[in-house]
């Protein structure tokens, strides 16, 4: 659920990031387009200015030529022809420049051509007139001027020039207008994007705030409810306990023993209720994450002496003796002393309550696991013990033992162990239990010597009892009894679970050597339980024997199980199968990996005399599968195989959780080079040459391999 919400939240975030990026892109695009437009407008404006100034200069040159020409005509003085010739010379260059501008100026290009044509015409007229005068044909020259033809040309030239000026001006204005309006558009777009983003952001903020408020509100409501519940219950309890104590005083004074005892019961019921309320408050505080760890250095021996003195009266009440066993090396600890004291008191007071005329020992030792040091506190009692099927439920809130004399007496809250386990886990450790009915129980607090915030609870595993356990998961109590009786005389412990859920919980707790599972149980799908057992990394290696009323031999779902029996079961065969798996355990099954069926057969025959379960695989890939499902105690491995060879198999096996430590004995006919030898030295327990095997050599080698790998 949590990952789902976080994924949804990240989807939300992605959405906002996308929108933001889009807005940014639009903004940048708009700025770029405008800038480009502005640049072009600027370029054009400069060109226009240049065109206008050129054209004015051009006009000036033409009129200079004209006035020089007229002065010559009027006076006949050749000196007046000088500006005329000068103008005629420069006109040529100016016209070339005009042509250039006109070429990339569509709006005025056409007019430039006309201007040029008119200018040429004008020049031709002037030249013709000047030449005539020069040759003495004054009349013709004057006639030319008098006719006003050249004036007409001059006027048309002027008009055209004005037109060009106007056109360039208009074009400039149009461009400016365009730039301005597109800038306006871009600004508008940017503003809209900003507003949109702002609205989205505000809405999201609102939503987050609303969610947080709702969560805070819910938490506050819960806290307020718990506080007021506690208050409301305490007030009448005060009267109940107070009056019963008062009446006890009266009864004691009048020597009414019966009344006194009854009143004591009322008082103890009241106190039990009080304890319950306190535990619920504490539990809810832990669950709400309101309990903080205050770690500090303290002396473990001092703490133990202190708690022993505190529980001595309770222990003595039931006639129990109380001892401390302090192993050497137990000294200082850096953790939350208040919480550890509470856990120890809880375990010790439980032991005192459940044990009658027995012995309670508080044992402490220091255990080093890899890089970390743990302190292990065992509270060992000689009480009635706890049945295997109840062990699994022991740490569940409100679970109370069914079979103990304490139940119904109103002495436990059903929360003590749940709180203890949660507190020890907060401190990076765990609370564990081992128990045997009729012998006693051992509750263990395993805590890191030094508390490190954020460390997961990684306590060293409980020491397994030497007796192998068989777990019977069956709703048929007749089977429970049957299996129990079967193993009366054997060193095998039988635990029973009445349904699949309980079975899985107990399997996790007890780590049995073998499980029998009824696949057809009321209210549970045995096949599903089988699948869960076999897909749980902690449980998948435990062999499962299926029991069923129906013949399920042909059912493909049964392939996960090691054996299948149909009810009514053949007792001898079942006990044989259970014993074989239970006594053999993990260490005494082997997987032979070789591509040659003959070699496999030969190796199998040699190992069979051990009475082990022998699995076979024809190549590395099959072997990896078998290792995952069968968890062999030892692998006898050939190196040269098709597809996945022995080397690759080893590398891949060592990379799996289950196969990291599986002992592997390499039996090969290959001549190994030093690099290969080095590699095998790291990954395999031993390497033997195929040719050298004689008689029982293989068995001896396999046993030696197991010994080495222990």
């Amino acid at each position: 659920m949590r990952t789902l919400t976080s994924r949804l939240r990240s989807l939300d975030e992605m959405f906002y990031i996308l929108i933001g990026a889009l807005a940014l892109l639009l903004g940048v695009g708009a700025v770029y387009l405008n800038w480009e437009k502005g640049r072009q407008a600027d370029l054009l404006a400069r060109q226009n200015r240049r065109a206008v100034s050129l054209i004015r200069q051009f006009q000036l040159t033409v009129s200079e030529a004209e006035s020089g020409h007229r002065a010559f005509l009027l006076t006949g003085e050749a000196a007046f022809l000088a500006p005329y010739s000068l103008a005629m010379d420069s006109l040529e260059g100016q016209m070339t420049q005009l042509r250039e501008i006109g070429a990339n100026h569509a709006a005025i290009g056409g007019r430039f051509n006309q201007i040029q044509k008119l200018a040429n015409q004008k020049m031709a007229e002037l030249t013709a007139s000047a030449q005539s005068a020069w040759l003495g044909e004054w009349d013709f020259a004057i006639e030319l001027v008098e006719k006003g033809r050249e004036l007409e040309t001059t006027a048309r030239l002027r008009d055209l020039i004005a037109e060009v000026e106007l056109a360039t001006l208009e074009e400039g204005e149009r461009l400016t207008q365009e730039t301005l309006s597109s800038m306006k558009m871009a600004a508008l777009l940017a503003v809209i994007c900003c507003i949109g983003l702002f609205i989205l952001f505000a809405v999201e903020n609102q939503r987050v705030a609303a969610r947080r408020r709702a969560a805070e509100h819910a938490s506050a409501v819960k806290s307020a409810f718990l506080a007021s519940m506690s208050h409301e219950l305490r007030t009448p309890l005060n009267a109940v306990i107070g009056y019963s104590q008062m009446l006890q005083e009266d009864a004691a004074a009048d020597n009414r023993v019966g009344d006194y005892q009854d009143l004591q019961k009322i008082e103890s019921a009241g106190k039990h209720l009080l304890e319950l309320i306190n535990s619920i408050l504490e539990m809810s505080k832990i669950e709400a994450g309101k309990v903080e760890v205050h770690a500090a250095p303290f002396s473990v021996p001092e703490l133990l002496t202190e708690v022993i003195e505190l529980v001595r009266p309770t222990a003595a009440k039931n006639g129990n003796t109380l001892d401390i066993a302090l192993a050497p090396g137990v000294d200082k600890m850096f953790s939350d002393v208040v919480k550890i004291r509470q856990c120890l008191l809880n375990l010790l007071s439980n032991a005192g309550k459940f044990t009658q005329n027995g012995k309670i020992t508080l044992r402490a030792e220091r255990v080093v696991e890899g890089q970390r040091a743990f302190l292990r506190f065992d509270v060992i009692d000689s009480g009635p013990g706890i049945g295997a099927h109840e062990l699994a439920l022991l740490f569940e809130p409100f679970h109370q033992l069914e079979s103990t004399p304490i139940r119904g007496k109103g002495q436990g809250t059903g929360l003590g162990l749940a709180i203890t386990r949660r507190l020890t886990r907060m401190l990076g450790g765990d609370t564990l239990v081992q128990s045997e009915p009729g012998v006693g129980s051992t509750f263990t607090l395993s805590l890191p010597e030094e508390f490190t915030p954020g460390a997961l609870h990684a306590a060293p595993p409980l020491r397994q009892s030497d007796k192998p356990t068989v777990l019977v998961i069956d709703d048929d109590t007749a089977i429970h009894g049957l299996v129990r009786r079967l193993f009366d005389k054997h060193p095998v412990q039988v635990a029973v679970a009445r349904n699949g859920e309980e079975g899985i919980r107990m399997a996790r707790l007890l780590n049995p050597r073998v499980i029998t599972l009824d696949v057809i149980m009321e209210g549970a799908d045995g096949w599903e339980i089988l699948r869960r057992l076999k897909t749980d990394p902690q449980l998948s290696c435990i062999p499962v024997i299926l029991l069923s009323i129906l013949d399920t031999h042909g059912d493909s779902r049964g392939f996960l199980a090691q054996e299948v029996f149909t009810k009514p079961v053949d007792i001898d065969r079942l006990s044989g199968a259970i014993l074989r798996h239970a006594a053999a355990g993990r260490a005494q099954s082997a997987l032979i990996v070789d591509d040659s069926p003959d070699t496999r057969g030969m190796l199998k025959r040699q190992l069979q005399s051990l009475g082990w379960l022998i699995h076979e695989a024809a190549d590395g890939a099959e072997a990896l599968e078998k290792c995952a499902s069968m968890c062999p105690g030892v692998v006898v491995l050939d190196l040269m195989m098709p597809t996945v060879d022995g080397f690759e198999f080893l590398s891949r096996l060592r990379a799996t959780d289950g196969g990291r430590y599986t002992p592997v004995l390499v039996v090969t006919a290959m001549d190994l080079d030093p690099a290969q030898r080095q590699r095998l030295k790291q990954q395999a327990a031993a390497v033997i040459s195929k040719g050298s095997l004689r008689g029982n050599d293989l068995i001896a080698q396999v046993l030696a391999t197991l010994e080495v790998s222990k």
Partner: protein, 120 residues
């Protein structure tokens, strides 16, 4: 004879504690709310006040503050008795001016010990 004032609005709890204290030889006056508590304290000057905190009319915290503000009553020790069990409540009561804090259900022998130590 030591006179103490018991302020408690819950009838059963008042009756129970009254009788248990009387058995121990105290002279016990009772008040049902904070206002009465102030009035009775000013009038009778008890050696000690046992104050419930959740009270009608004027609550225990306010009553304590007012008694502590009055020079005539400020030296009378007040012990808070409350069914509020959270650690926060202790601070609240001590802040108001209480000298000690006991949660309900009352551990009677402990209360007697606290009363004794407070009077000294």
């Amino acid at each position: 004879v030591i006179t103490i004032l018991l302020v408690e609005d819950n009838e059963m709890n008042r009756d129970m504690l009254l009788r248990r204290l009387q058995r121990k030889g105290f002279q016990v006056l009772t008040a049902l709310d904070g206002e009465q508590a102030i009035q009775m304290t000013q009038q009778h000057r008890p050696a000690l006040v046992l104050m419930d905190m959740s009270l009608p009319v004027v609550d225990g915290w306010e009553a304590t503050r007012r008694l502590k503000a009055d020079p005539a009553t400020k030296n009378i020790p007040i012990i808070a008795l409350t069914a509020h069990a959270l650690p926060l409540e202790r601070d609240r009561a001590l802040e108001a001016g209480c000298v000690a804090f006991e949660t309900k259900p009352i551990d009677f022998p402990k209360l007697l010990a606290v009363m004794e130590s407070v009077q000294k």
